[in-house]
Symmetry: C2
Subunit: 507 residues, 2 copies
């Protein structure tokens, strides 16, 4: 069937969409979400169909002028760019079969195991934008409810790696680390990477931006230097200084993962199989051979019970073995924020103070990072068992880690800056202890929320600064935390929320 | 935040959508699928957010002219019609919480039972277009994988009924029937409704159009008379002639069902709980007190094994009991098409021949319909047990059923027409037996497919006509079936397909 193009000013950023009027769709025997092949000269593209009917309340004239009419096809940006059409051009439309991967998704929904080829087909079609959001949603739901076996997770990981870019480094040993999210101010990567690189290891670290927390590692590093690089630029930086702290989002490392995360968001799902594959695929994509996984556990963290953490630990170990990687997994205290600052600039300042061994640095952040770096040093056999933590501490306290950190941010196009030179929001509001006692809880979720309402991470200078952690003995009126924000409305709203539930408990 | 409206020429027919540029979304701390409140003067509406980024390959000028820019908001038709905006108007945007029903969907995904209020909230939000396709998809997947309990199915059915229109009839007894789909030429409703109405019962029958078969009851009735009515028009017809055969799609009876079916389509899912609730909600909505459910079973049907059919039967009985309805369930032979014609006009002609007791009528269709009508007559206690089939046969063979049928189509605005006056496609192609033997299989799925390729149901006159059924003894060269289509390309393609797999087996 031939239809006249109407270019639409919107895109999905993803799947190619063509909009048809109901009558034309009927003629082609199409239902919503069916596929069509669009042909314009020698160019062609497969699109998913959106079908629109008569608009209630619209006149015939309205229809003709404003909306997609019979005989017309509305093209989203993605289709326009492949076909090179102008409004008014005539293109041909044919109905097209659905991708085979949909039948594999159905199979998984029905509780059957998927083989290597089937999982690859699904991930390839997600990567190539051949599956709609609804179809990907069924895949995620199926994996949530019919848990993936270890074999399936291994295939899934390989499929994610093989449908994206891969970093190839000459080194025999390449180290990496990952922390399961949910804990505020947990910026260990910014300390561990320089320690390991200073010890002579290769650490091509990629990080993500915050999705629902007050700052991701990428957001925090960005306060100090650029973080968006191509894969070859990243390779160059790692070659030069031994490590990097870049944003993983622009390099197409296991790119299917981003789309899967996108459909998980509306109901905040995170099936274990996908979590494992997602993390390990990113590590495999940068060529990591030795990896440390940190699972923070506790009230207010993503993982709240120890049994769940232990199961996850076993699965990481098993998946690492199957992928031919050396894995260490630690379960850490996730029941409160690690550093003091929460929000990009506040966290960046913490990192700098800590790396410079300043008394204003965060002891919790320092000790956790040294411990984790030590484990990686032992995992790579750089030092004998039991000696890792000593080497890590020596590198840290001697200033070599700070020196390496400066090299890394300089290699990424930043400059050395004194922590007190970093700009913070000028307006703040102090919360003090309402009674004397011991701090018994500082809630990650609530602190993240307050910092986000204050403006973090988009407003780098906004956030929360903690004066004490769990176990601190306070007198009435002692400082607990401040909220920072230069946006008066946001500050006011954050204060209101914090007055209701501050996230602090004093026992 | 204030943004300038750009009215877009498309709609979803469903959820209200607003399109923002990525930078504006960031400023509002929004992710795709988050909700916003749009305010224009005194009017307001909650919309789901679509976020678009910079378009690869587009120039700055392109962006400004063609696409949604920073400071702009693109409104789909649904939002335009509620707010009454013109392009260029300025509206206010606020971020809005997600509906609580999303947390109930999550709960179901996690395997927990939902209570009455939670299921109502989900169905209400589906009906009111507050849930996106992805969110509804999670609900369907959750119900598929964590099967709904009988209590949940009952709540779900009530919720579907209570969020739509309801037909209120004065009669104490209102009868209805439903057949689980998948069997071709299964037009029993068009015979059963007149038999029952002629017996003095009230039969407010609604039917659906075909989705994936060659004709639904609504498509077939439409060959003879109008089928689209409002609820009060339907009530008037039933009042006048005791029954009707109308399309259920336009009357908002259990309307959430249509949206659920829409997200089931991409992966052809049909969770048992939803199937039960969907069918029984439609029956409850028209006020049915006595209902017969037909479950056809066999190779090529929707339900292929007897055990599954028996389970379903039990569940229908149980659900009927809980809804306070009298239910009979029969399991019938679904291993081949029932009538001879497949396609709207061919099926309508079969119905007329059969109702007129013509020798060209379908014996299978007649006998199945008389049996089913008999069961309903007994269920209502209109006749004693064992006497239903006799009364049904008497009404049928005396011509009273045909007379009532003419009354019904006349009441719906049609006219009596002789079966041989119905227009059929002029071009046809005959398939004959390639060997002597007994017909051992006529495949529903393949016959539906051939008839659809020939043009059915959108081309009413196209389809397939069967000259024999299972058990017929044929000589080589005997007529098996003809394909009818006036579209040469479609006819050619249907013949090609049928030559590969005709759906007939001769043993």
């Amino acid at each position: 069937m031939k239809l006249k193009v109407r270019n639409l000013p919107i895109g999905t950023g993803d799947v190619v969409v063509a909009v048809l009027r109901d009558k034309d769709a009927t003629r082609l025997d199409l239902l919503p979400a069916d596929r069509v092949l669009l042909k314009y000269g020698h160019k062609q593209v497969v699109a998913t169909v959106d079908i629109i009917g008569r608009v209630n309340g619209a006149t015939k004239k309205d229809h003709k002028k404003k909306f997609i009419c019979c005989g017309e096809v509305g093209l989203f940006l993605e289709a326009q760019y492949v076909l090179g059409t102008k409004s008014g051009d005539v293109i041909e439309i044919f109905s097209e079969k659905k991708p085979a991967s949909i039948s594999y998704i159905k199979k998984k929904l029905e509780g059957q195991r998927l083989n290597k080829g089937e999982l690859y087909a699904i991930i390839k079609d997600i990567t190539d934008r051949n599956l709609s959001e609804t179809e990907i949603t069924y895949f995620v739901a199926a994996c949530y409810l019919n848990e993936l076996s270890m074999t399936e997770i291994t295939y899934l990981t390989h499929a994610m790696v093989n449908t994206g870019n891969v970093l190839k480094l000459p080194q025999r040993i390449v180290v990496d680390k990952h922390c399961i999210g949910g804990v505020a101010a947990n910026r260990t990567s910014m300390l561990i990477v320089p320690i390991l690189a200073a010890a002579g290891l290769t650490v091509p670290k990629t990080s993500s931006r915050s999705i629902t927390s007050a700052a991701g590692t990428a957001d925090t590093v960005e306060v100090l230097c650029p973080i968006v690089f191509t894969l070859s630029e990243m390779k160059h930086i790692v070659h030069k200084v031994g490590g990097c702290l870049v944003w993983g989002g622009a390099m197409s490392l296991a790119p299917s993962d981003d789309k899967i995360i996108q459909v998980e968001h509306p109901v905040s799902l995170d099936p274990t199989g996908q979590l494992l594959a997602s993390i390990m695929a990113k590590k495999k994509s940068v060529g990591a051979t030795h990896v440390l996984i940190d699972i923070p556990v506790g009230r207010g963290a993503k993982i709240t019970d120890m049994k769940h953490a232990e199961t996850l630990k076993q699965k990481f170990n098993e998946l690492g073995r199957r992928l031919g990687m050396k894995i260490a997994v630690i379960i850490t205290d996730g029941s409160q924020p690690v550093g003091n600052g929460i929000g990009p600039s506040l966290e960046a300042r913490d990192v700098l103070w800590t790396l410079k061994n300043s008394s204003r640095g965060s002891i919790l952040l320092k000790e956790k990072s040294i411990k984790m770096a030590g484990i990686i040093l032992e995992l790579t056999k750089k030092v004998p068992k039991g000696k890792g933590i000593n080497l890590a501490r020596e590198i840290f306290e001697s200033g070599k880690a700070y020196e390496k950190f400066v090299q890394i941010i300089t290699a990424q196009g930043g400059k050395e800056i004194r922590p007190d030179q970093l700009r913070m929001a000028k307006k703040s509001y102090l919360f003090t202890a309402w009674k004397a006692g011991t701090v018994t809880h500082v809630d990650n979720g609530i602190m993240n929320k307050i910092a986000r309402i204050a403006g973090a991470p988009h407003d780098q200078e906004a956030g929360v600064y903690l004066f004490c952690h769990k176990g601190t003995i306070v007198r009435r009126g002692d400082k607990l935390f401040t909220i920072h924000s230069d946006n008066p409305e946001r500050l006011k709203y954050a204060i209101e929320i914090a007055k209701k539930t501050s996230g602090f408990e004093i026992g």
